[in-house]
């Protein structure tokens, strides 16, 4: 580490560099980096599973992997990507690093709980790796009963236990953020002066706190039923096979909003900064985040339209699902309007942000299609749905995560990344992504079901296109490893505010000192006070900059 931090002025990176000082740290910035290491590791595990899946699907007869192995592969891909990458990614890395800085605090409310959250996350990671190595599980990440409780041959209990423990990490992180945002805001930082990233983390934390415990109970019931041989999902005892689905989706639908809300927060920061103008409709954007969080709890059964729920239930949940699409639409229009009369630069973070808006819009609009009851009858459980959610989670969340990573890289590391390579990666990501997932919309409407290790040869051409795209995506996602890693050693040193942005985090050095600010800042201005006409801006402490 000494080459990275040599000659750097004292910062949270240089102050004490023993292993113990990292593993026992209470500094939210170091904990963010610890989480970054963990989730990156799991991103590549999940990516490895995806690679095998797409290689296997090149051939309709499906001979690359044994059927059981393929089934365990897609299950692992789902479990790892959902709980060990997408849900923690932005909150535990960017959220942990930035929330105290953005609100002018010296740390989170409960630093020890923050560190504990990382350890709990890793324990759950060890359990899931154990599950992987002893042979895996094939229920899909959705664990539907009675297959998971009574018929599956894999390691259901370790997988369920891993996710159960992972949930504690989620809850601890969410609790920390909610309390911190309520209690530790600097003087002058009123709710309506909070950056939208903070609003997004606040909204997502509420969802994490209220939804995750229900998942914990659901998986505990599944594990207990499998272990004891008897349980409440057993049709022989009179158990309702649909009950599991209701309980599971009561969590898992809000969970997908856990995955997208922080990304939306990041995008608002980026679009505003690189268009050099205030975000269009700040209050609307904040309320939209909260509306999405609240309404997300009332739409879960749209995953069950053909599962055997009553017609009336289907109608109610479809209607509510259309409602939850409205605040998302507002956000897309507001981001677009923020470009109007801006002074737009296309640095890598902005390319990722614009990519997000495009891909999220496509994903969201296809969401309307699956929300439409009669269309869903045809496309449910086909590749159409897979394409829909990958557009949002990968095209959306992962793009935003990369965008935010690049944007705050100078602040976190004190180094600038090489701009040209970053733009190349962003563009290749966008192209590779579309090639991978657009053909899957077609596959889905043609009728190719999900979770099939072999398929009708007539569908091969679309599968080959998709796999080709996946190879391009793999390159695009691996590139940053190299040039970001390079920048740690050879990148140009960053000043405090290389992007000339307005947030409080840019008022302290890059990287920040251990306690963030030499003196608690006083907030005198709303966020995003950029003037596109002359390039000047007002930072949140009130200082005017030409």
């Amino acid at each position: 580490m000494t080459t990275v931090t040599a000659d750097l002025p004292a910062s949270y990176l240089t102050k004490e560099n023993t292993i113990a000082s990292w593993l026992l740290t209470s500094d939210h910035k170091r904990i963010a980096l610890l989480f970054f290491a963990s989730i990156t590791f799991f991103f590549f595990i999940g990516g490895f599973a995806a690679t095998l899946i797409r290689l296997h699907l090149l051939n309709p007869a499906g001979t690359l992997l044994q059927p059981d192995m393929y089934n365990r592969m897609f299950t692992m891909h789902g479990i790892v990507m959902v709980w060990f990458f997408l849900i923690p990614s932005i909150p535990t890395t960017l959220g942990n690093f930035l929330i105290p800085l953005m609100i002018g605090a010296r740390d989170l409310a409960f630093p020890k709980i923050n560190l504990a959250s990382w350890y709990v996350f890793n324990i759950s990671g060890l359990v899931v790796l154990f599950c992987l190595f002893v042979g895996g599980v094939d229920t899909g990440w959705t664990f539907y009963t009675p297959y998971s409780t009574m018929f599956a041959n894999g390691y259901v209990i370790p997988a369920a236990v891993a996710v159960f423990i992972n949930g504690f990490s989620s809850i601890m992180t969410g609790l920390n953020f909610v309390i911190t945002i309520h209690r530790l805001r600097a003087p002058g930082m009123t709710w309506m002066r909070l950056p939208l990233f903070v609003w997004a983390i606040y909204a997502v934390s509420i969802v994490m706190l209220l939804a995750t415990p229900v998942l914990a109970m659901t998986l505990a019931l599944v594990a207990l039923e499998r272990w004891m041989g008897v349980g409440i999902f057993d049709p022989q005892l009179g158990g309702d096979p649909l009950l599991f689905q209701h309980m599971f989706w009561f969590y898992s639908h809000p969970a997908v909003y856990i995955m997208i809300l922080p990304a939306m927060g990041v995008v608002s920061e980026l679009v505003s900064c690189f268009a050099r103008r205030p975000i269009f409709g700040y209050e609307g954007m904040a309320y939209a985040l909260m509306a999405i969080a609240v309404i997300s709890f009332f739409v879960w059964a749209h995953h069950m339209f053909v599962a055997g729920i009553s017609i009336y239930a289907g109608i109610v949940f479809s209607l509510l699902t259309f409602f939850v699409a409205v605040p998302s639409a507002i956000k897309v229009f507001n981001w677009t309007a923020t470009l109007h009369k801006g002074s737009i630069s296309f640095d890598a973070p902005m390319l990722y942000a614009l990519g997000f808006v495009g891909l999220f819009t496509i994903g969201g609009l296809t969401g309307l299609m699956v929300a439409t009851l009669s269309i869903d009858i045809h496309v449910h459980d086909t590749y159409f749905v897979i394409a829909h959610f990958h557009y949002i989670m990968v095209g959306g969340t992962v793009s935003a995560f990369f965008g935010g990573l690049h944007y705050w890289w100078p602040k976190i590391t004190g180094r600038l990344y090489p701009e040209m390579w970053a733009r190349v990666a962003a563009i290749v990501t966008f192209l590779g992504f579309n090639l991978t997932f657009f053909p899957q919309f077609i596959l889905g409407y043609l009728g190719m079901p999900r979770r099939y290790y072999a398929y009708d040869p007539a569908w091969q051409v679309w599968n080959v296109l998709s796999s080709a795209g996946a190879s391009i995506l793999a390159v695009a996602y691996t590139l940053p490893l190299f040039y970001l890693g390079w920048s740690l050693f050879y990148g140009e040193r960053a000043g405090a505010n290389p992007w000339r942005a307005t947030g409080l985090e840019w008022l302290t050095s890059s990287p920040p000192p251990q306690h963030n600010f030499p003196r608690t800042p006083v907030v005198r201005a709303a966020p995003y006070q950029y003037n596109p006409a002359d390039g000047s801006y007002v930072a949140q402490d009130g200082s005017v900059n030409a």
Partner: protein, 214 residues
């Protein structure tokens, strides 16, 4: 007497204390969702299989359940008394009442263990020795599955509470609490009240069922 400085991210000790309380309330909210999911599911099935659940519940051990209800409610009283003594700086009484609370909690676990033994003797333990009684149908076993999961999870939460009280006793013995600082007492007290409240709901859901005078 250690100096009473707040952690670096807090401006005042009062801010830290209030924040700790808010944290515990928020944590309790997550626990409400956790137990709530189970209780809600229980009532769903109870509505669907009303008669079977009534039949099954008649085998529950009302006396033991009631004794435990009394024990736990008393322990909440001793906990509150402990906190009050802590606020007044009366260390000896604080430790005594904390010990009493822990002891009552331990008694609860003892009675519960004995109750599980009695349940085993009545052949109402699913997966171990559940016997379908004449006139009963399979959904009666569902009642017992809920019973064991709910009371089992409650017992786990109570044990964690016991651990926390032991930590408080340790802290109190070392003179950590004073009229200026008793935040951990209140926070653990809140958690203990929550454990007690869950039991009140579970008791009401499990034991009186099927015993109404016709």
């Amino acid at each position: 007497m250690r100096s009473l400085r707040p952690e670096p991210q807090y401006a005042t000790l009062a801010q830290q204390t209030e924040t700790a309380q808010l944290g515990m309330w928020t944590f309790i909210a997550t626990e409400v969702m956790f137990f709530g999911a189970l209780v809600f599911t229980y009532f769903l099935y109870r509505t669907q299989y009303g008669e079977q659940f009534r039949l099954a519940a008649q085998d529950s051990k009302l006396l033991l359940g009631s004794i435990n209800q009394a024990i736990l409610l008393t322990s909440s009283l001793t906990m509150v008394m402990a906190i009050n003594f802590g606020k007044e700086g009366r260390q000896r009484l604080l430790v005594l009442l904390l010990l009493a609370t822990a002891l009552l909690g331990l008694c609860f676990l003892g009675v519960k263990g004995y109750e599980y033994l009695e349940d085993y003797k009545s052949s109402t333990v699913p997966s171990l020795n559940y016997l379908l009684k004449p006139g009963h149908h399979p959904p009666t076993e569902l009642f017992w599955v809920f019973y064991f999961i709910a009371t089992g999870l409650h017992a786990v939460h109570l044990t964690v509470g016991l651990g926390l009280i032991l930590v408080l006793i340790w802290m109190a013995q070392r003179g950590r609490f004073s009229p200026n600082y008793y935040s951990p007492l209140e926070v653990v007290g809140l958690y203990w009240s929550f454990v007690d409240t869950v039991w009140v709901f579970l008791f009401a859901a499990i034991y009186p069922l099927g015993r109404a005078a016709t």
